[in-house]
Symmetry: C2
Subunit: 312 residues, 2 copies
């Protein structure tokens, strides 16, 4: 199975973490180095790595210090400090679930490295299973709309469909303001030789009305216990429109967070310059403000099927 | 009354047409010169001027030749040739209605200049009336979402509201890929000292769900006889979502075209590089294609109220 570089975009090599710089895609496939937890936090805040990349970065950052801290009694306090910093980076992402897991393992310093590495192997296997389960939902000639980027899962889903002789193709929203659709999803699907067409975020209803798409699938940055999800801004309106056009709306969901419902999930408001500036150049008049909620909440009722990552 | 430069962005001065270069806004307020109908067609195709600017450019281009052609018997054939070229520029825009009008006047060479100038004065007065009628629909503290740009009508609507001591404010979608919202609408509203906030095209449902907006108003590039409209891509999904949230959806509509319903309106598909490239730099991978319908159709049933431009 040939994986998208976005499927496992972060690795630990000796004393250095190597992470795919997603801001440079699709022009350049380059990795940058992270040497300590402060650099890891900066990489997360600046969105050089995102989604599964951020999850992997959390684990590898801990692993870095597990290897570095020689005095056993200093390990747990160090891991706690790292956890605190990581959890402060982005409000909508439920890192705490991950950091709590590592802190728990940290109580047994002799086995913590083995536990982290074992968990990452398990996570990889479970992500592959999740892609396989999603692939089973698609049929020959399906045209699937997606939004944002699901970290290498779509090419993998496509590969499973191919194995079963099901030809599927994709539409992807460009996903403003960060262009994950145009830069990442289109790139990884094209690279895996799937037919993919980029549309403006504003063209979803039109494409539905024209009958160009018959299924939708997105990822989710957070899953509440009742099935509501937080995902990239725009997911909610796509789900509403899919409902209107009776198009199935599937979600590749992470394990549930502590949020009971979507209402319990804090929505991160990103700086408006990310919306009002492109490549350092201002688009909007200087004095005008923007409002850029990075995520929105899609209620469970609009989701035809959750495809879960089953790690517990 | 202080008009937005976008309200009447084209003028004829002697032998030269002067048009506001909308692609340079908001950084620079500059006008470019148009000396013949070929340049006028290029300006329309390249979208240096758009919407009402294109309508004015049609009339002023005719007027230019009315002044230039001294031999009466050459006038009508020249006007016919110009009409043909202008009508070929953009499929969704109903210029034919305008060019037919001028060709009809052209049968009386001695009065054609007076007719064109008289019509333009009449058009200006009717646009002001249209803004006044729209202003009457808004109430104190309304927060109004708009999409794309309505050529100077929104600041004028706002000015009428101010006169009646109604404080209104605006949200505007950035309106990809041409950024009419960020570049033009935000600029002209800010310039007229209205509170305006730019959002991604993907944040409409979220902003509705948060209760940040209580009315929607857009323009229309074409009005079919049954009330369906063609307008900037994205209008349709905003109308669907407004319906879902029971938010009134108003349309500033031009005179009806010959289209019976929205189905009779051809949707212009613009080159995908306008979607996949920004400031000459490619966003998407080189080989990936885009689909950029520049307009969509909003059925009359989703429109709470049309505010008509009553020129006949």
């Amino acid at each position: 199975m040939d994986f998208s570089p976005l499927f496992w975009p972060v690795e630990l090599k000796g004393e250095t973490i190597s992470a795919l710089d997603e801001t440079k895609l699709p022009q350049r496939l380059i990795y940058f180095k992270i040497k300590n937890y402060q650099e890891a936090c900066r990489a997360i805040k600046s969105m050089k790595t995102r989604a599964i990349g951020q999850v992997l970065l959390v684990f590898y950052t801990f692993l870095l210090y597990v290897r570095r801290i020689k005095e056993e009694k200093k390990l747990l306090p160090t891991l706690s400090l790292i956890a605190k910093s990581l959890n402060a980076t982005r409000p909508t992402l439920p890192f705490k679930f991950l950091t709590d897991m590592v802190l728990d393992w940290g109580k047994e310093p002799s086995t913590v490295e083995k536990n982290i590495k074992g968990f990452l192997e398990f996570l990889k296997a479970k992500r592959i299973e999740q892609a396989q389960a999603a692939g089973a939902l698609f049929e020959d000639r399906d045209v699937i709309l997606t939004h944002c980027n699901v970290s290498g899962l779509l090419p993998l889903i496509g590969a499973f469909c191919r194995k079963q002789k099901k030809h599927i193709s994709f539409f992807v929203t460009e996903t403003r303001p960060y262009f994950q659709g145009s830069r990442l999803t289109a790139w990884e699907l094209q690279r895996a030789e799937f037919n993919v067409t980029i549309i403006p975020d504003s063209a979803v209803a039109h494409v539905f009305a024209e009958g160009l798409v018959n299924k939708v699938i997105t990822g989710a940055d957070q899953l509440a216990r009742n099935g509501d999800i937080a995902n990239k801004i725009g997911t909610y309106q796509i789900a509403l429109l899919a409902g209107k056009f009776k198009i199935p709306f599937y979600v590749l969901a992470p394990p549930p967070s502590n949020a009971g419902t979507g209402k319990d999930i804090a929505i991160e408001i990103r700086p408006d310059k990310e919306l009002l500036t492109i490549a350092g150049q201002r688009i909007a008049p200087k004095e005008v403000k923007g409002y850029y909620p990075a995520f929105d909440i899609t209620p469970a009722a609009l989701i035809t099927r959750h495809i879960y990552l089953r790690i517990s």
